[in-house]
Assembly symmetry: C2
Homo-oligomer: 258 residues x 2
């Protein structure tokens, strides 16, 4: 039996998200179809480090699958990219230890959220940013960001998981939430030991409400205390969100595709 | 009578090019439709600084139109962007002198061409780069680029204009052809006093053939001398090409949309 670890980039625009759903295109389905084609119709289950929603993108999503069949990482990479649609690319294939699990072994994740703040949207970024026409108070935005860093019960910033998901401990540690100016807007970087469902988008929505004077810093603290999703702001739209990195304790596997 | 100058950005992916064609979506058609909606069905002809082909993009295409009706540049910008598809954006509206002509008044143009050179394509750049899997000799690429700079008869690097276009003087001056490394690839910058039909893409195709040892520097010189399009290489694909800037002698008009 072999365990393969995949590093995948995808443009989420035309997908209903990572996870397989009936009658909707998903990244997971595309990967499983490609693997079924490669391994003579065998059903291969590809497990991702976590779901991404419809319209959300990934620069380095991690997934794994187990199979009896053997194939060199390099040939697997070439064959998968030959079979996959062009908006999904396998960037790396590695042979992982059999105990490797893309979701359970992950110890840290990084997400970026892109804001576009100019009056006229850049047509090349329309599918990759949240275009905000509100005036933002950037010093308030920074002050609000600080409130989220650290270990908190993020219940108020988490949507109910979809049916079938196990209910989880709502305490997470956000190691950093940094703001970087980029041309025409801003990038918010989130790094944490894990993220609840829609947590990043709910935090971004709340931060923007603070920065546009719709919510005070004190109200953010009381939203945390309320442990009630209905208290926080609407989620920021999906197209600004990118899964950038998933980190595992053991990063050096034996056989890479390079 | 008023003359309006428009600065337009568009993602050319879903268009058959700038110019109106029967039964094919074009940028010019979208603009004229939006203006007809605004000005009670009046037919308004929008003239661009030049055509861009199917799949070619623009960061700052310039166009103009004349109309009796008056509207402030700012309101025209908002109304047009409200009516246009999201992959076409009017970035700026200015009132220009009546003698301004986006094509005939232009004295200089800048195009960029993007190459992607990594083995696995970045899915976010698939519609905006030429993905080259050939090994390139970058010093040869630079040497070849030098041969194109200056005033030359570019007949061998120009396709026949479409029906209806006037035949032109094939002598053009290329002020610069610079190469810049970018993440995963390279950007080629062309600045000249004008460009013949498909000239940039034909030059890029030829440069890449030199850099991949399919053509020698001496052969490039003999292609110039032959004045025969069939001698040069195949045109580089359209999606790597961006119209970046169009320059006019008088840059300061009175009324801007800012």
């Amino acid at each position: 039996m072999n365990c393969y670890k995949l590093t995948i980039a995808y443009d989420g625009t035309h997908y209903s998200g990572w996870q397989i759903q009936p009658n909707a295109p998903s990244i997971q389905h595309c990967l499983q179809e490609a693997l079924a084609d490669l391994f003579s119709g065998q059903r291969v289950v590809v497990i991702g480090s976590g779901r991404t929603d419809a319209g959300v993108h990934a620069l380095n999503q991690i997934a794994h699958f187990k199979i009896e069949h053997e194939m060199t990482p390099n040939r697997l990479l070439l064959a998968l990219n030959g079979l996959l649609p062009r908006d999904i690319r396998v960037k790396k294939v590695e042979i992982a230890p059999l105990h490797f699990h893309s979701q359970y072994s992950a110890i840290r994740k990084e997400y970026h959220y892109h804001l576009y703040l100019e009056r006229v949207m850049d047509p090349f970024r329309r599918l990759y940013c949240w275009h905000l026409l509100r005036r933002l108070d950037l010093s308030l935005l920074k002050e609000a960001a600080v409130l989220f860093v650290g270990t908190h019960d993020f219940t108020s910033f988490a949507n109910e998981p979809h049916a079938g998901a196990v209910s989880k401990n709502p305490v997470r540690t956000l190691y950093r939430l940094d703001l970087y100016p980029v041309e025409g807007g801003m990038r918010l970087e989130f790094e944490g030991n894990g993220f609840l469902y829609k947590m990043v988008r709910n935090i971004v929505g709340t931060l923007i409400d603070v920065a546009s004077h719709r919510l005070t810093l004190t109200e953010v603290l009381s939203i945390f205390e309320a442990k009630d999703r209905r208290r926080a702001s609407r989620a920021a739209p999906p197209q600004g969100l990118f899964l950038v990195k998933v980190i595992y304790p053991e990063e050096n596997f034996d056989h890479e595709s390079h």
